[in-house]
Symmetry: C2
Subunit: 422 residues, 2 copies
């Protein structure tokens, strides 16, 4: 048997989106694009296939990622190809390619699917989708503020209230100055940044031990710990966000963010528990990267941006009961129900006459009995039904029935159409 | 130099979508999804990664396609993975996996990107997008008619008129009966179908020579040629489409379609030249495949569907001048223009107050002079501007200027907001 039939399973670690799941996915994408566009961001896109070289130049850490965590293969023309694991290198490449033609600053967004070769686990798949928003060509602090305000507004537009999530902010440049003042060299700072990135996942004791290895000096270690505990500074970004009414923000010097390329403001948002403490996987994260286009040419274009993944976001939406009822409806606006097969073509005709940009009309051409067709329409959220039987086919008069209140109107198609379109 | 910098080129044969191109792409996707949904089709989706086995079972012809025309590689878990070259096997897999739970018939659509490993040439890329629509679980002829009507309506919704394209229809089952009646065996019929698929690309002489090789009998060859010339039959599908007002349809027995899995109605559409003759690459194509889910289980679910690619469609839209002006606008609804950097944050505040689901508001935080900011807004199709200078920041009164007619209103934010939202 197993030889005879092909498996119906999808590839390991990726998702099939049946209509109910696809409706949620499309709802997420639509709020993402509407919010980004309401801030004047323009959509861009690119292929998931990128030359593998694009991910190799960012230093040893990324070398490891390219080799062990990405899908990279050699094509028949001997080119090394990678399925993009993140969008920032792609957009930096695109900006660098046309930086003399493009009118800076740019506000760009995209909704790419991204691939990571890793063991599938809850909330961590081999393929996921992400909203990516970036402002290029401005190092004005209001672009940092705007970027975080956009990420904030995106969650608000899903129906979240500010008490349900918190945005944590830090500044790489500030940390660089502070760590240097304590006496750390660049290698130590890089190692410490990586250690801080996993701080929440390890015990305080483990943290201290690893910190000691990095500093090789108990006194400096204690200075670092003291420095990270004092997070009462109010930065201009935090103050700016407050002036826009965004107050679910804290400044936290232990925030690190994984990527090496950040140079200034970095931020990350989490859902909060009842005590307002961050929980779970990050809802969005990003930062300023002022040198990334220098991988491609001598001219630097400042960038700041963020990514918001679909998996943690969907969990957040479901857990907070934010999914609108309409997203769960699978029915069309009008269902035309022929009483039997000989009226199917008349049904198609009636449906074709009533369709418009505002009215979706389906024809139930199944072999089910009429009663079953009507109860199906009731269940899937259909607004109106039109039954087509002998009488209707002969008289060309049809009865439009509102399933919500039971009201009926019988008339010819033209009249029903003008009634529906108001 | 070439060692120092990474190339900004995309991978060979795929496209970068800068905002102007992405806007056209999104316009195409939106007409696709709106039209499919107006027919009551539900969206589904899946990963581009599929087990390679999915494409191997369809016979020797497809074996060649899998080996030479797809991106297939082995992952680190020793799984053979393919980047999907078409969507039909994926959707058949998904339907087969849940065929006992799903209420048939299903109307499903998707907008997948598809990958083919081939030499890039005009209109033929390594990655393209396609609208895929299918009805599963009905072998009623009205589902054939509805599917073709949906494909037809999609082009109409792009602004095409019926004289600009033609739909060619044939029936695999009918051809099977006719070829058998002439005396051809199944191997000969399969070879003839493949020969017909490339008929338009070769000379009549070449065609005749290859036909003779297949039939090995001059008399039979002539019968085949006579059979294919007589295309005056009116099938029920053509008659049904006429009853829906769709008349740019011809029945042509030489239409073959590449895929082996078709079992009944097949169709393909082309743009037409001034004489109404089909030209160029096909705009959409599809057919009935009643046995495809039997690859996965003993139960067959009837299917009929079509695919419409973005590349030929975009050419068709551009050549017929059908692209709406709005798609070319890159500006937001309102542009807030600070006179200099110190007013940028006030600009962000004003923008955040005026934003809604209907009003996109951007803030020009560039270092350009005000005059340049205004002329940029004029050029990119911005509807309104608000200049923020010393006076505005102090009085909290702002002037909303309509760039189309030059009208101005000066008032506080709340008043301007209610004015904008009607």
């Amino acid at each position: 048997m197993s030889e005879k039939y092909i498996s119906t399973e999808s590839y390991k670690g990726v998702r099939d989106f049946y209509p109910e799941e696809a409706a949620i996915q499309q709802y997420i994408f639509s709020i993402w694009s509407k919010t980004a566009e309401s801030f004047g961001f323009s959509r861009y896109d690119a292929s998931i296939l990128e030359p593998a070289d694009l991910y190799k130049a960012k230093g040893a850490e990324n070398e490891e990622m390219v080799n062990e965590q990405t899908y990279t293969f050699t094509d028949r023309g001997d080119r090394e190809v990678t399925l993009r694991p993140e969008m920032t290198p792609t957009v930096a490449r695109m900006v660098a390619a046309k930086q003399r033609e493009l009118a800076l600053p740019l506000r760009w967004y995209s909704i790419p699917n991204l691939f990571r070769y890793e063991r599938p686990q809850k909330g961590r798949l081999r393929e996921h989708w992400q909203l990516n928003c970036d402002i290029f060509g401005s190092n004005d602090i209001t672009s940092d503020i705007e970027t975080i305000a956009l990420a904030h507004q995106t969650l608000i537009n899903f129906g979240a209230t500010s008490d349900k999530f918190i945005i944590i902010i830090n500044d790489r440049a500030l940390m660089q100055r502070m760590y240097t003042a304590i006496g750390l060299n660049q290698t130590q700072i890089d190692s410490l940044t990586h250690l801080n990135d996993k701080k929440k996942k390890i015990s305080a004791e483990d943290y201290k031990n690893q910190l000691d290895i990095i500093t090789n000096d108990q006194t400096i270690s204690e200075e670092v710990i003291l420095l990270l505990e004092k997070s009462d500074e109010q930065t201009d970004v935090v103050i700016g966000l407050e002036s826009l009414g965004i107050t679910n923000v804290i400044f936290d010097k232990s925030l690190a963010r994984g990527f090496n390329y950040y140079t200034g403001t970095i931020f990350e948002a989490f859902a909060t528990d009842e005590d307002g403490q961050p929980i779970g996987r990050s809802l969005f994260g990003g930062g300023r990267y002022d040198n990334l286009t220098q991988l491609f040419s001598s001219e630097a274009v400042s960038g700041i941006g963020f990514g918001m993944g679909d998996v943690a976001l969907k969990d957040f939406i479901i857990e907070n009961n934010l999914l609108p009822e309409e997203v769960k409806n699978t029915g069309s606006y009008i269902a035309v129900l022929p009483t039997d097969e000989e009226h199917n073509l008349t049904g198609q005709f009636v449906a074709s006459q009533l369709r418009s940009s505002k009215t979706s009309v389906s024809t139930d051409i199944s072999k089910r009995k009429l009663g079953k067709k009507i109860s199906n329409a009731n269940e899937n959220g259909t607004k109106y039904i039109i039954v087509i039987g002998e009488t209707e086919a002969e008289t060309n008069n049809y009865t439009l029935k509102n399933l919500t209140n039971g009201e009926e109107v019988t008339d010819d198609i033209e009249t029903l159409k003008s009634l529906l379109l108001g």
